[in-house]
């Protein structure tokens, strides 16, 4: 069957957001679309479905004005027979409507196998749990992010059944980051369901993701249908999007050759413990503790200089919360922390954190670069207001930027508005801002978020260098297979939450 092939060009406010020649989509296969975030993967997929607003975007598909494309039989067919699972499940459900109504309105009203599909997505649930979930109005915490994602996927699967029943030919199903930043348990369930439904109905599936570890999982679990699975990577070359096939072995080979990061003999202060946090911190009605093995006995978290530590826990346990407590952003009861020679507890006044610790001894990199950076600043302004040591002159910053961005920054990069950079560039800028500081301890929350393969390698190289320079790094990441290989076993910690009776 001839694959779908589109030329996509999307402009907004006279700025070209996306320009892709020959966006290929083989019919009847699963295509994994990898690549750094913010270069137009979701936007292009939405454009195909006719979801963009004509007043805002000036889009052209195959040279056709967008209004015409929206009316074209192809776009109408995509909408009628297919489905689109969007990226942020929390905003994609109506807060004033019960979940069961949302899952059975519109064209989903005629779908037969609702109960069966839901049961498969919630395999471990008790009877009646699914029903009580459906009667809920979606709020921030209930259902959880993972549950919301599964509800949206359930809608997609219902549509698949309907499409098959009506004899649709090549319906298109798009899953945009269906696993988000969820932990591997949920990721495995959702992926499994997608591929199982694929096997049953053989629609055209486009799965947009920046999680390269899916490659390992897919080749392992569904090796038999590998010829129906396609890995492509979208990258920006001179402002144009280029779609290339991505060989699984590129990633797999790289992964298998990873060695744990260990400080070499260059480390000046050796392996002194720089940060030590005792277990048993209570916050939000739960008590958090560290251990060396999952569910093992509690132990303090000890970060040594020139080392990289990895904190693991199922999603929802409170990894982000505990690191925020360690950074003094959230008050946790029973905090007993030793930083160098000073003791920190919940009674430590905020002024002390602000004057002595933040940016000077400890710093943290947050996972969403879009939120962590001021999108209206220029690139050079990102480094203003930082407590940088005098040795970091403007030239030094420029040199670091150059190195970090691969030895070539486009002219005028420093004067560009941060909001106009791609997602990967923003993430690297976010990291660089903290890495330039002279802090002894660096906490990184999902540092590889939104990066493509090449950038990922660069960032990891940079982190390795900082470790060798004597910093202590603490990482949170759902890219378990990468960091399990990179972090020495003695530096892996597990976080657990217990609830008082």
């Amino acid at each position: 069957m001839t694959p779908y092939r589109f030329d996509i060009r999307i402009r907004h406010n006279r700025r070209t957001l996306v320009e892709i020649e020959a966006f290929h989509l083989p019919k009847g296969k699963v295509t994994f679309l990898l690549g750094e975030s913010g270069i137009g993967k979701s936007l292009s997929a939405k454009a195909l479905f006719g979801l963009l607003e004509t007043e805002e975007f000036d889009a052209r598909i195959d040279g056709q004005p967008y209004a015409d494309h929206r009316r074209s039989p192809l776009a109408e067919r995509f909408l009628r027979e297919g489905f689109f699972v969007f990226q942020e499940p929390s905003t994609h459900l109506n807060p004033l409507m019960r979940l069961e109504d949302q899952i059975s309105e519109g064209s989903l009203a005629g779908a037969p196998a609702r109960a069966a599909i839901l049961a498969q997505l919630w395999q471990e649930s008790r009877p009646g749990e699914i029903q009580s979930l459906l009667e809920v109005y979606p709020k921030a915490n209930r259902p959880s992010g993972g549950e919301k994602q599964r509800i949206l996927c359930a809608m997609a699967f219902l549509k698949m059944e309907l499409a098959a029943r009506h004899g649709a030919a090549d319906p298109l199903f798009v899953f945009d980051e269906p696993t988000g930043n969820l932990d591997n348990r949920y990721r495995d369930i959702v992926l499994e369901e997608i591929l199982r439904h694929f096997r049953q109905f053989r629609p055209t599936v486009l799965l947009i993701t920046h999680d390269y570890s899916m490659i390992s999982w897919v080749t392992r679990q569904h090796g038999d249908i590998l010829e129906s699975i396609n890995f492509t990577e979208l990258s920006l070359e001179e402002g144009r999007g280029k779609l290339r096939e991505f060989q699984p072995r590129t990633y797999l080979g790289w992964l298998s050759s990873r060695q744990p990061v260990r400080s070499g003999r260059e480390a000046p202060e050796g392996h002194a413990t720089i940060l030590r946090v005792e277990s048993g911190i209570s916050v939000y009605g739960r008590t958090l503790g560290f251990s060396r093995t999952p569910g093992g006995e509690g132990c303090p978290l000890a970060l040594r200089r020139s080392s990289m530590a990895y904190l693991k826990a199922p999603s929802g346990t409170g990894k982000t919360t505990i690191v925020k407590i360690m950074m003094g952003l959230v008050r946790g009861r029973n905090l007993r922390m030793q930083l160098g020679s000073g003791i920190l507890s919940e009674a430590t006044p905020r002024r002390l954190w602000q004057e002595r610790i933040w940016g000077k001894r400890m710093t943290m990199v947050f996972q969403h670069a879009d939120e962590a950076l001021n999108l209206r600043s220029r690139v050079r302004e990102v480094f203003e207001g930082l407590p940088l040591p005098e040795s970091r002159t403007a030239e030094a910053i420029g040199a670091e930027l150059l190195q970090f961005f691969g030895g070539s920054i486009p002219r005028g990069f420093l004067d560009q508005e941060v909001g106009t950079l791609s997602g990967g560039q923003k993430q690297r800028l976010n990291l660089l801002r903290s890495l330039l500081l002279d802090a002894d301890v660096l906490i990184l929350d999902e540092p590889l978020n939104g990066l493509d393969f090449t950038s990922m390698q660069r960032v990891l190289e940079l982190l390795e260098r900082k470790v060798k320079e004597g910093r202590a790094l603490l990482l949170i990441s759902h890219n378990e297979e990468i960091f399990d290989a990179l972090v020495a076993p003695e530096n892996i910690y597990y976080l657990s939450a217990s609830f008082p009776e």
């Binding site: 909408l79 905003t91 109506n94 004033l96 519109g106």
Partner: protein, 379 residues
């Protein structure tokens, strides 16, 4: 909910206290000089045989006082002056107003003001509800027009004429200019409507004073809703809420679930015109239903702001139009009479009315939130 109720009640108490303090500090506004004068003069005026209006009596009084208090020449003169001044005051106030009422709260005054206050409350309530309906309906209507992408009237007219110009065919051009005149007419009408909607109430009322009975309740209610920029500001606010909601993610999900998304009138998959004008609007099977429901819920707290502005508008209307027998007109009269104790009481009464509305709106919001299992109530 109890907490907000207590806060509301506490604020009423505080405001009442503040008023009392201000009045005490400024001496109640009653002219202390006049008060002192009255006290001085009163015993003389109460003498039965003394007619203060008769010049002979006044001269006799003067002589008598001179006889008994020979060394108080100045005091006697000033006393007579005080009597004169007092009489003049009484005369002036009698000829000017509805009768020389004593300053301050009297039971007669209370009996007169209470029905006016109730009348004010009823008018206020009616206008509030009408404006709520108007804001939601006009806001939704404007949102639909916006989605359809109809160009503004003047530009549409210009476009059609400009399209005919290059043909250099006089007949075509004339046809374009005159045939599309209804568009110009509509634009003019729209401009006229804007003029009314934004005009302060007194401008409109005075323009129509000789044609219509501007003292009627109906006129007041219509004026309250339409003028002072009232309905247009809140229609705009509601429209902005709709726009804000329409950008949210669940609208995309609704589209992908194949809910109707055209904003044309009356076609299948579009919006029936009548649905926009209902009181309880419902757009079944259309993405607008999701958007409208959310906007409507978000808008409820804005009703408090609407109430505050409405009171401002009504005060302006009643005072500026000098409508006798209305609460705010009485208030204006009392201000001009410098009877500030009464004015303070009336202002407090209005504040209580606004606070009562706040409480009711909070209760309503709470009820709606509970219906939707609002996050604050859960957990």
């Amino acid at each position: 909910m109890k907490g907000t109720l207590h806060t509301h009640l506490l604020s009423i108490l505080v405001v009442a206290g503040a008023f009392a303090l201000i009045l005490a500090a400024t001496g109640g506004g009653t002219d202390p000089e006049a008060e002192a004068r009255r006290r001085l003069v009163a015993p003389f005026l109460e003498l039965e045989f003394f007619d203060a209006g008769d010049p002979l009596h006044r001269a006799l009084l003067k002589e008598t006082l001179r006889l008994y208090y020979p060394s108080s020449e100045e005091k006697i003169d000033s006393l007579l002056q005080a009597i004169d001044a007092y009489r003049q005051e009484q005369f002036v106030s009698e000829t000017e107003k509805t009768g020389a009422e004593a300053l301050g709260w009297t039971s007669r005054k209370v009996a007169r003001l209470i029905p006016m206050y109730l009348q004010f409350t009823v008018i206020y309530g009616i206008v509030l509800l009408l404006t709520l309906y108007g804001a939601q309906t006009l806001g939704t209507y404007r949102f639909i027009l916006d989605r359809r992408g109809t160009p503004p009237l003047l530009r549409a007219y210009w476009r059609r004429v400009a399209a005919a110009l290059p043909t250099r065919n006089l007949l075509r051009i004339a046809a374009a200019v005159f045939g599309n005149l209804p568009l110009l007419g509509l634009a003019l009408l729209k401009g006229f409507a804007y003029a009314i909607l934004f005009a302060p109430a007194y401008v409109i009322a005075y323009s129509l004073k000789t044609r219509f009975d501007t003292d009627s309740y109906l006129f007041m209610i219509v004026l309250g809703v339409v003028s002072n920029g009232m309905v247009i500001t809140y229609a705009n606010k509601f429209y902005l809420y709709l726009i804000h909601e329409s950008r949210k993610g669940y609208v995309e999900t609704a589209i992908v679930k194949n809910l109707a998304r055209t904003f044309q009138w009356g076609v299948p998959g579009g919006i029936p015109r009548r649905a926009v004008f209902r009181i309880r609007k419902h757009f079944g099977g259309h993405v607008l239903q999701h958007i409208y429901e959310n906007a409507r819920f978000q808008y409820i707290p804005a009703l408090k702001e609407q109430a505050t502005f409405l009171v401002t508008g009504l005060i302006i209307i009643e005072m500026a139009l000098n409508i006798q027998g209305h609460f705010c007109y009485e208030m204006l009269q009392n201000i001009l009479r410098t009877d500030y104790t009464v004015v303070a009481g009336m202002l407090l009464a209005i504040f209580v009315l606004v606070k009562a509305t706040d409480i009711l709106v909070d209760l309503w919001y709470e009820r709606e939130a509970r219906r939707y299992g609002h996050p604050e109530l859960d957990q």
